[in-house]
Symmetry: D3
Subunit: 333 residues, 6 copies
């Protein structure tokens, strides 16, 4: 792993290179006018959500704010209500005005992912979920997506960097690529077993060449007790994984004496599809979720200046002055 403090802002962010340019101009204008009023800015979203990104936002604020500044915040992973203030900053405007774009961006993206993860986790009702949507996320933020998924309640994720950010180990089975390179599912499973550290669970992907039930029995017979489980990932062209398929594979494994082999399911899962498996009583031991988390839309956060130099203000449409929120906690800078 490349060493780097993952929560710390990047150099580009600190330089304001990803700030909307009109914020830099505003700071320049105020400087030219020799103004730097103390303002209070409040940050909120418009829908119920599982807030995420506060940790990274605070890390940024710690680097740029002076001693006189105050920051009040909710906790990472809290559920927030519509228009509830999640973060409040009171400081001379020019200390942090440049960072509004970055602060909102962190919160919007990560809260979107964490909330989607929380919805899947709720639907799974106790069955663990592994987030593996990095492949549909730009690599420069895939680790944040995985971190947010864990904040949202997922049990695992797929990339080393995301896992590091969340303080856990990365999880994985085997890709179709390995099986295609080796030409047979059973051979791939046996090669995995020969060469990979015994601490890593053996999970065979069983839909590459043959029917899932047939392949599950072949692998289970070959690996015996060493096999942790099988993963069903039937493509849509073959009708996706269904609750009936899971039930049948379970029975066939049990009938052949492989009751210890678990069944993981993946492929186009979202909260609704997970709910379908649970409602049908399908004996799933783990779900793998990709786009339903990684492609979740950001949940927009808005920053409103509500006080300037101690006086309540607001633009039209907003209530002037601070919004009460007793759940906010003072952040140490």
């Amino acid at each position: 792993m490349v060493e780097r403090d993952l929560y710390a802002p990047s150099a580009a962010t600190l330089a304001g290179d990803n700030a909307d340019i009109y914020f830099r101009r505003s700071c320049d204008i105020l400087a030219a006018e020799q103004l730097n009023p103390v303002v209070a800015m409040e940050v909120f979203a418009r829908r119920r959500a599982r807030v995420c990104g506060l940790r990274e936002a605070q890390a940024l604020l710690r680097q740029v704010l002076g001693q006189e500044a105050e920051v009040w915040s909710l906790d990472e992973g809290d559920w927030i209500e519509p228009r509830e203030v999640a973060l409040r900053i009171r400081a001379p405007y020019r200390q942090f005005g440049l960072y509004e774009t970055a602060l909102l961006g962190m919160l919007s993206s990560e809260t979107g992912w964490a909330t989607a993860a929380a919805e899947c986790v709720a639907a799974a009702d106790g069955v663990p979920i592994i987030s593996f949507g990095a492949r549909h996320t730009h690599p420069e933020v895939s680790a944040r997506m995985e971190y947010a998924a864990i904040v949202g309640g997922c049990a695992g994720c797929a990339t080393p960097q995301g896992a590091a950010l969340a303080g856990i180990e990365a999880t994985g089975t085997m890709p179709h690529a390995l099986i295609l390179c080796l030409g047979d599912t059973l051979e791939a499973a046996e090669a995995f077993d020969r060469h990979i550290d015994a601490k890593v669970e053996r999970i065979a992907l069983v839909d590459t060449f043959k029917d899932e039930a047939e392949e599950s029995l072949r692998v289970a017979a070959a690996l015996g007790e060493k096999l942790w489980g099988v993963r069903l990932d039937t493509p849509s062209e073959r009708g996706r994984v269904t609750a009936e398929l899971v039930a049948e594979v379970r029975v066939r494994l049990d009938q052949a004496g492989h009751s210890h082999v678990k069944i993981a399911v993946s492929g186009g899962l979202d909260a609704e599809r997970i709910g379908y498996f649970r409602a049908a009583g399908a004996p799933v031991d783990a779900f793998g979720v990709g786009s339903a988390i990684s492609a979740a839309a950001p949940i927009d956060f808005t920053a409103d200046i509500k006080e300037v130099a101690g006086r309540p203000v607001a633009k039209r449409g907003r209530i002037p002055g601070l919004t009460e929120n007793p759940r906010l906690k003072r952040v140490e800078l």
Copy 2:
């Protein structure tokens, strides 16, 4: 601006830290088995889209592939049909297997943004669109989002880093924050005019404290010919910007002799809302679009191995062997 080749892969990407861990294990297994078959991998999406991310993907492949490898690709910004192959790689598997996650992630995210931008641009039917959704995107990828928006047809974007990636200058008006700090729209406009380089267009935001029509007339009277335009960004609590509001401001400006003053519109715009303004004949000179582009879901790309050591293969559900696509061009490595 922090100096860095923005298309080049980051150190973490090159190190495989954001790769799904099972790809690293697959490479390790093949190495342990002393195998490194030449495979052909094809990358496609399942829906019509404006492809983006190929430039960054090629930059990564150039760093990792050997001389014997072949890469075939469409052009950045091409429209692709469902299941059309956009990228084909033929190389020893262990040279690039580790990067499947990153390659797909680049393409999925950037194609999602570019396609959404193209839909807004089509709806605007000639009226320029500025992308300014960086505030709802994680700062580590906001520049890629803006680059993709330009590839999708937008005329401008808001951050210096995004503009640099797209080879243009960043665009901006003024934020509510500046007006709130200065306490009056007119004062803010005049301060802007005093201190900001004359090359930058003067665009006043006119919804902060007073009615938009009233404020437009005040600013136009004060700045005269120097005023490029006004921006209407009425909040939802005041009913958003409507076609009637634009028409009225236009007439009132004209009646007061300010026909040269343009009108930019922003606030919750998407392709449908832009179409509403166009269908109503509202005299809009520029649209500012945020979340409709930046929150667009990634368009998932899939990578299939279709040849191993010269033999056509495929997993169940896919057609073995290469898929014809005469539009692909050989990429120089």
Copy 3:
């Protein structure tokens, strides 16, 4: 006010000029045949409704029926069930056959208005409603519409004649016309205050030239304790009145020390929109309702002859003989 007994039938009605002509012919035929059977006629509607118009109907019957006649009726303002008999007349047919058209017309129109008013009143849940839809009603019946609105539960109405009919005083704020003539909202409010009887509440209309919040504060500052309230009537081109606007004006008035100033809301209100304000907790002190009451469709009443000369009869599709209704009361003629 022109003096006239408003409940009494007009000369045209008494002359049968607005009766369907076939009723006159029927009476002529029966006269030529020297017939005048005693019939019992029952009047009912097909849907649940708040009955109104009985008072006017009884006034008409008193003028035309002889001593031997009997009239049974519900009370003005009662809720009636589908097909419940609201009025029963037993008399020689030629005494009242000519007036079937007028009797049904009174009941249908007024019951339509009263029922619509009652639905708005229910939605307002305690907040008073002023009916001011006279402008969308023909002037020859606007007073009946306002009377019916009061029967339906409204707290006030806008025209002197309607108010007289309902036994109350007319209510009003100020029209846009006054403000446009005087050129400024504040000037209009001050002129109103100078010249209008101090018993009349001062209510300023605050959406003519400037933003509603700004104008509210100006008027409140100028009139102080004399200002009873402001009326928000934002046009659809400016997004109509929203719950957020009411809340913001409330807070801004309170922050400026004008807690005594009330807020009235008007503009396209109906039961659903009133319910939206109530559900959102918007601090509205009075609603002004126009077309939702005045444009309510009449609720059709039907008159069936159910007895002729003491024998139960009915046309096909109806049950011969009288319909029981213990709620009916004998009307003194």
Copy 4:
């Protein structure tokens, strides 16, 4: 018939008793301030409609405006487009400000009826329509409703006063009441024939006691050539009139040699139901329409002051100054 100029305003209207009280107060304030600016007021609706009520509005304006005033108007019965100016008044405000309520009320109510009538007439595609909804309209305006129905294209109406206003003769068949009083459809038809002026068409209502087809044949046999037609008005409890019923009665009449007997249809008809009969090719000779015209909602008209003392003005949301409409004609006062 009670003699009276039906287009002239009533005494109450001239006295302003049905005006919104704030208009009287506005006039009083302006008078107290010794102001009486010449204003231009424009009147329009927001939807396409068949305008009606202009004749009555002009009659009112003729009585109240002075010589210096100007009135521009469309013609009674013109189709108007959304927001098209139908009436423009330029006069000292205090001459007509009191009558805004009445003017809008006339136009709104009558235009609603005329437009609904026009929609039924279009659906009938050449088959004449008789308006007979007076029974569901307050008697004080039923004549205006019938007048508007004729302006909208109806061929006849039911009350003497309405017919007089429209310059035609009232139309009628026979009511169920007559048949119930006489105890038999045939006897009623014969009594009608004995006593009513031979110029009045004999139309028997044939659904009171027996099946419509049976009754039609009985009446046709008895009255022979003197019978103009039969009216089908089957109640909903017997399934309403259907296209098949009309066709069957037609054939049975023809088979019995009564091809000259026409068929009129009534009962719950609206444009959609009329269209159903026409689409099914049912041989209907006349339709009787009630509530579909008389219960039509008023089409709201709005009056905007667009000029004060020669200067263009408007309230927020409207374009200041006059709106072009070359179709307007100058009205002689």
Copy 5:
């Protein structure tokens, strides 16, 4: 009646002439291979249903199975759950493989009819239903349809053969044909009364020539106490039978002293329409149901081999081995 054991299979069925030909070929192949494995076959449906056809299926199995065979079955008329095993056969395959088509066909058709009947019976909530849909069913199976309707809860049916199969007497009123031949409803009722065995109830069909209420009173007056009831069967061209019509006929009969006369209703009835009459409180004494039962789609049954020679088997998608169902009872062969 032609004498024949109605439950016994026909000669064609026993000969396998209506078997899918591939079953005959399968038996031929197994014979050529000198194989005849004992198999267990389970039969189930995929939706909740009232099972019918088991009696006929068992009669067939009794004729073809040998002594060593076992049959387990639910009872005729039981409600079955989705995928619940309704019939299990364990026998040498060649003894019964040829009859899979016929066995499933019996169950599918008859269960479809019985289930539809049960739904109508439930909606009728105690009011008896007569099944008379034979006219819309092929005569070779109409008796089975009527038998299934009785199994589903109907109180009677219309054909002698169907009634015989169900062990009851056939039920009937009179057809329109009789009335048309005799030219008058009353004459038809009197002729019926003269010539038909007094044990058969007199039920007059009262919608052929005149209004139903009128005809009911004529027949009731003529037949007096001998009249069991009237049947209302109003055609759609006259608006079908409505709840109001039933109520009116009831009242008119009662007012004329014929309270003993019952009212039967027919014509396009299904569970929903029956529910409408019941919800409206219409005083119906019997319903006649045709297509809603006879045109019910078969409920598909599936037969799965789950054991071969004592070993659990299944095709892909099904669970190998027997499915538990403690409700199954051993059938005596």
Copy 6:
């Protein structure tokens, strides 16, 4: 095959055992009254349909009508319009009144099947359809269903009796039962090839134990040129047959040199699903359709007496007298 003239009425039909009992009573009453009027009866349906059953109906009429009778009919398989007369009988009523139930039943059932078949055939647009729904139809009418399917345009059917009725040979592949008994798809295919007449096409069912593509290649390799095709019948638990599966199997067969092997598809097909395969361009060579034809609801036919003893008559709701239909042809008795 059991020998029998399949179009001739059964003994029970001739005896009237499946007639509604009121028809027998009507004949008895007329006989007792010594009446036997010549009547004309017309038979029609209410929707567009492909008429079937006329052949069987004519066979019945030939047996029961006398010389003086006339029968007019459309041709078997004609498309009929709503209410178009498909069959007209003029004869003494007692000669055929008893058979109304059977005649309508034949027409209703068979027309329902033929019409559904025609809809599937239209959707298949040239690809042949085999009807094999006998398993969901009662065996006593399954042959009629198959006959009607052929009349509706199907290319083949599954039972010997149905095929005989339609004048063709029965068609079949192999059932899952054979494969389960033999334990392997390939063995079953080889056994079939060994023992079944070489004229019968070899079609292997390939979804019983293994993936369809894998099994197709095994069977094709073993049988070579002798293999006519494979049948895909994937169960819903494995996602049904999809267009992609067909395409993949086609390519894999072609890549392995088995281009001559055809692909038949079955399993839950109806017109919509067939249209899906055709629209997707799936290379299907034959469709097998079951319930979509066999479970089609009967299309109700109605018989109206329109003449009695030369006089036009009709019950209420119908037009008295014959209905013109120049397409009718006189049937030889």
